[in-house]
Amino acid sequence: MSVGHHTTQPQQALESSAIRAQFPILGEKVHDRPLVFLDSAASAQKPNAVIDAMADTMRTQYANIHRGLHWMSERTTEAYEGVRDLVAGFLNAPSREEIVFTRNSTEAINLVAYSYGALLKPGQAVVISEMEHHANLVPWQMLRDRAGIELRIAPITDAGDLDMDAFKALLSDGNVALVAITHMSNVLGGVTPAKQIADLAHAAGALVLFDGSQFVVHRKTDVQALGADFYTFTGHKLYGPTGIGVLWARKELLEAMPPFMGGGDMISTVTFERSTWANVPHKFEAGTPAIIETIGLGAAISWVESIGMDAIAAHEAGLTAYALKRLQDVPGLSVVGNPQDRGGVVSFTMQDVHPHDLATLLDRNGIAIRAGHHCAEPLMRRLGLTATARASFGIYTLKQEIDVLADTLIRIRDFFV
């Protein structure tokens, strides 16, 4: 671990109680125990800022957007379109017109696979990695089967890092059109060397897409500094609501790509003979969008930015280092993977105890973790596992909660073995 936690300890506790007070759900009890929520990588809890922004929209300032000629519609359109500016700032995108709202990261990747995929020719290749979430795997398989492109899988090392030599070799024939890779593994927690990946891809004539679903929650994201061509994330892992995700893509790519879905709002003119498309990003936003959820996402972004991504990253680096240390105290426990640069996600297994049994017993003690294949079955196979238990940390996670996790795991081990 390159990042220590010694420097941030005193403020952390102070900050944490103020932060936690903004999450009403953290006051709930589960099975008569205080909730210890260590499943933020699946979906994060929501602060009052998000809950209130959504409820206030519905209570005081709601109508359909873009087409209304009345006050409510104009105000709601402003609020909705204002979030595009917030997202552009959040990703350091050069232009608000490069922000496409989708339902989630899965839909954003499907959009690229469909619309950018329509520009690919048989024989061209897409490279993904062995540690992709199904969301960044299945859409490319579908494209392969539909368009006759080749799907190449970049291997990972046993530690859980992308095997850069093998990756370079996959690019060497110059047939790769796109590299689509996670920016942070949802299973191993490893942060991929995105800038290096982008540079290698570009040198080989390929574009690059990063699935930032996990990454954007934990660290500052700068699509320009990364040299990305496409970047996706989802709102609900970023303390925002479900049903809203983001695709960022360079404007000339969005302009060259055909629409994904047809309908209202995405057109310029429509006749029975033909239709023409609205300008980007609206070309990719057919139908009434998730207005309230988008406003909720905007509130989430403003909220995390008010705390600061650097402070969040430092808090989580401290927690992750502490968790890795405490989990060593648990007999029979193995942490899965040891990536060079890890975010706040730790997967583990316990000898002779199945991850689901761990999850059930932890749950009965008020501790929520994820267990299973984490929508990454090929990665599980690569690791020789069928499932892992996963603890993930967020802005509201406390060191004491990691102690509760480790101590409970020790008792579970005693019970089973």
């Binding site: 689901h356 049994d357 009965r364 003690n365």
Partner: protein, 156 residues
């Protein structure tokens, strides 16, 4: 030992022991019927092999990859249905399912039908606390799904 950890009631000693040391794991050389169950959500898998003699289940073996609940359920199912007729085994399965989904704690087994004694759940009642763990019921039911598949074309 079991009271040190909250939730341990779900993991009856019998369940823990059978998951660690199953009595009926393995294969039958030439099975008469085979069924498989797979839970795509968690990756648990079980394969149940049966030998039938005069429409009675004379031998059961299972190969199970999964959690303690699933493993123990497969093993205790194998034990419970050995020697039963096919309709009897089906009835035990129905009672087992009914026990897992029922809301109250009244004794299991109020299914109509005249096979009250042969369909008693016996040791399978160790799984009753699963009622409070909705997300885990399918773990215990998976071997029974495999059994159902194995018996699907057995008409008695």
């Amino acid at each position: 030992m079991s009271d040190v950890i909250e939730g341990a009631a779900l993991y009856d000693r019998l369940i823990v022991e059978r998951s660690r040391t199953p009595h009926f794991a393995g294969r039958i050389e030439q099975p008469d019927r085979v069924g498989e169950g797979k839970n795509p959500l968690c990756g648990d898998k079980t394969r149940v092999e049966l030998a039938l003699t005069d429409n009675h289940i004379s031998q059961v073996r299972h190969q199970t990859r999964g959690c303690a609940i699933c493993l123990a359920a497969a093993d205790l199912m194998a034990e419970r249905i050995t020697g039963l007729s096919v309709p009897q085994a089906r009835e035990v399965g129905q009672r087992f399912s009914a026990m897992l989904v029922q809301e109250t704690t009244t004794p299991p087994g109020h299914i109509s039908g005249g096979q009250q004694e042969t369909a008693a759940l016996g040791q399978l009642e160790a799984f009753a606390p699963l009622r409070a763990h909705r997300s885990r019921i399918r773990c215990a039911e998976l071997p029974w799904v495999a059994l159902k598949e194995a018996l699907v074309h057995v008409d008695i």
